[in-house]
């Protein structure tokens, strides 16, 4: 049994502890309550003392197989069974299995006459019998102070109580004793005097009409323990204590990247998106689309088949699903697939601390890879800025230690808070995206900036953030001579540019055609000159030919004449 309760790092000489099984409590006490010794749980009426004790006994029996005895001085066994049944504990079954034994000690003053010296051996015998019959390792006494109202002889009672606790220690059972808070004392009868090993104080504080349950370890002899007040929650699963996780900066980090769900935004973040396990803040004024960015991130997570939990402090789950449908984002199917869980609650439901406990608990249960809190600003309604910041520090710390990526949205109430986010959490987060209204020419447009993104190259450009029926897109803004243009001004500018191009091409065409025409004219001229030249040449050739022909004909004629003359001469000669 000792191996079970001791942590492996704890040396043997270290005070042995018994785990209570109460969520978070064993962490703040570094292992639970002292083993084999009595622990006093005190607080005002309704602070949760009985529940604390009962849960320790029942969880001891069910989770650690340590049988336990419940000695109740107030409620009857049947009442107790009904009370814890609502927390899902079946006391009747546990009693049958001999894991739990209940003894209701009833004292009625009117029936008792004191006639001299007595002792509480009857009680001892009953306790001893109950413990031995099931081999109990744990016992609770709720509330032993009732003895004081039933019996008159205080000196006997005190001596007997001292003997009782000594006896319990000797028996080696881990005892949990409850006691109601008295004036100036932790308990009415000063039980803390007898139970000196471990004293736990439960409180129920109301601030601004919002109640917060707090647990504090007043004393823990022989052990180090947290001295803070830790908030705790009582719900359908019993008590959950929120440990303030170590504020050492020794978390493991991941260099894995996760998509933001908006391709254009990923591109601005070095092309790959956020670091897994980092914290992201999306801040902006009202209606700038913070929830849409958050929903896209949720979608991207679910698309990777990872779980995402969405804490909504403004809208109901149905509202979010409906609204996101309008930008073609079907969150409903992820909810059905069990990948997405939307947890909606009003910030004023309970105090800040309780919100943190509730968030913790949900995260532990659902084991998401991504957590979205939308928006953190609303928490300010139940706490001061400083408180919210401290809560967020603890939350971020917890999430990062679990390697969960978290995205917060924050509403900037004033449009010109360019430099600081409201909660001052900007220094805590790893990436900060800001969505801002850009008002120009009578219309509002959204500009998206990456204010910071640790450990990665990111765009320094302002992008215009457009929400359409098909989702979110980012477009580069137009940097004109008059500055940054967005919305219709950007569109007009783009149109202007298109027109300009059109005109230019037209102009070019005209010039080209003129040149072509000029060429045609030139070519025509060249052709006619050529024709002219050819005709001159021809006429010249013609005269040459005529001359030749004339010469030839003359030559022939001359020859003929010469021949004819010769012939005539011969004839003359004959006649002679």
């Amino acid at each position: 049994m000792a191996n079970k309760t001791d942590k492996k790092t704890i040396p043997k000489t270290y005070l042995a502890k018994t785990r209570t099984g109460i969520t978070g409590f064993d962490e703040i006490t570094d292992g639970g309550i002292p083993k084999g010794r009595p622990t006093l749980v005190c607080g005002e009426a309704g602070a949760g003392k009985t529940l604390f004790a009962i849960e320790s006994i029942i969880r001891g029996a069910t989770e650690f197989r340590e049988p336990g005895v419940i000695i109740t001085f107030e409620e009857k066994a049947e009442e107790l069974q009904t009370n814890v049944a609502s927390l899902g504990f079946d006391l009747i079954k546990l009693q049958k299995e001999n894991l739990i034994k209940i003894d209701h000690v009833q004292i009625e003053r009117s029936e008792i006459e004191e006639t001299g010296e007595y002792d509480l051996d009857g009680l001892f015998i009953r306790l001893g019998y109950a413990i031995d019959s099931i081999g109990a390792k744990r016992i609770m006494l709720d509330t032993i102070e009732n003895l004081f109202s039933g019996l008159q002889n205080q000196s006997i009672l005190r001596a007997e109580l001292r003997r009782l606790f000594g006896w319990l220690k000797e028996k080696g059972v881990t005892a949990i004793i409850t006691g109601e808070k008295g004036d100036g004392n932790l308990t009415r009868q000063g039980l803390e005097e007898y139970v000196s090993d471990c004293v736990i104080l439960l409180e129920h504080r109301i601030m601004n009409q919002i109640s917060t349950r707090l647990i504090r370890i007043v004393k823990y002899r022989g052990s180090q323990h947290g001295t803070n007040e830790y908030p705790f929650l009582i719900d359908e699963d019993g008590i959950s204590v929120l440990p303030v996780t170590s504020l050492l900066l020794d978390k493991k980090v991941s260099s894995q990247r996760v998509s933001s769900g908006i391709p254009a935004l990923d591109k601005m973040l070095g092309g790959k998106g956020f670091f897994a396990g980092s914290s992201i803040l999306v801040s902006g004024t009202a209606g700038t689309g913070k929830t849409s960015i958050a929903a896209n991130f949720a979608k991207a997570t679910c698309e990777r088949k990872e779980k995402c939990i969405y804490f909504a402090f403004e809208e109901s789950p149905d509202q979010i699903v409906r609204n996101m449908n309008s930008i073609d984002l079907n969150l409903g199917k992820y909810i059905k697939a069990g990948l997405l869980h939307i947890q909606a609650s009003r910030p004023s439901l309970y105090g800040l601390e309780m919100h943190l406990v509730a968030i913790h608990k949900k995260i532990k249960q659902f084991k998401p890879r991504t957590v979205i809190i939308d928006p953190i600003t609303n928490l300010v309604t139940v706490g001061s800025m400083a408180e919210v910041k401290s809560i967020l520090v603890r939350l971020i710390d917890f999430l990062q230690s679990e390697g969960i990526t978290v995205l917060f949205t924050a509403l900037n109430l004033v449009a010109n808070t360019k430099e600081q986010s409201d909660e001052g959490v900007s220094s805590l987060v790893d990436a900060w995206i800001m969505v801002r209204d850009i008002e120009n020419n009578g219309e509002r447009n959204r500009g998206l900036y990456i204010m910071k993104s640790r450990g990665m190259k990111h765009s320094n450009q302002v992008r215009e953030f457009i929400i359409t029926d098909h989702g979110i897109d980012l477009v580069p803004v137009y940097l004109g001579p008059d500055g940054v243009l967005t919305g219709s001004a950007r569109e007009a500018q783009q149109l202007d540019e298109v027109t300009g191009v059109e005109l230019k091409t037209h102009e070019l065409g005209r010039k080209d055609r003129e040149i072509a025409r000029k060429r045609l004219v030139l070519e025509a001229k060249i052709a006619s000159l050529k024709e002219e030249f050819e005709s001159v040449q021809e006429s010249l050739n013609k005269s040459y030919l005529e001359d030749d022909l004339k010469k030839e004909i003359m030559n022939r004629n001359r020859k003929q004449l010469t021949q004819e003359r010769n012939n005539h001469n011969t004839a003359n000669d004959k006649n002679k």
């Binding site: 008792i112 006459e113 006639t115 001299g116 010296e117 007595y118 009857g122």
Partner: protein, 93 residues
């Protein structure tokens, strides 16, 4: 003639502790003086019958329960304060 038992008393003690012995002696003498012949006294050692402690809602010991006549009455202590014992048994107002 047969004696009528008007008083049914049961004394719970724890073995032979000083208080137990004192209580046994005291109640016996009180009974002999005030209820001679009309009482039945049963002495139970709780150590032997631990179950009874739960059943009878026993806390402080020694405990004397007056089972009869009704109403049932419980007296705790070593029965040394005779006045109170008599008052508890309804023998003295």
């Amino acid at each position: 003639m047969p004696k009528k038992t008007e008083y049914v008393l049961r004394l719970y003690v724890t073995g032979a502790s000083p208080n137990s012995i004192k209580a046994i002696n005291n109640i016996k003498s009180i009974c002999e003086i005030y209820l001679a012949g009309k009482y039945a006294l049963e002495i139970v050692d709780i150590y032997q019958e631990a179950e009874v402690a739960k059943k009878e809602q026993i806390i402080a010991l020694p405990l004397l329960i007056k089972k009869f006549p009704l109403p049932e009455k419980r007296l705790i202590g070593d029965m040394s304060e005779t006045e109170k014992v008599l008052k508890g048994l309804g023998l003295q107002s």
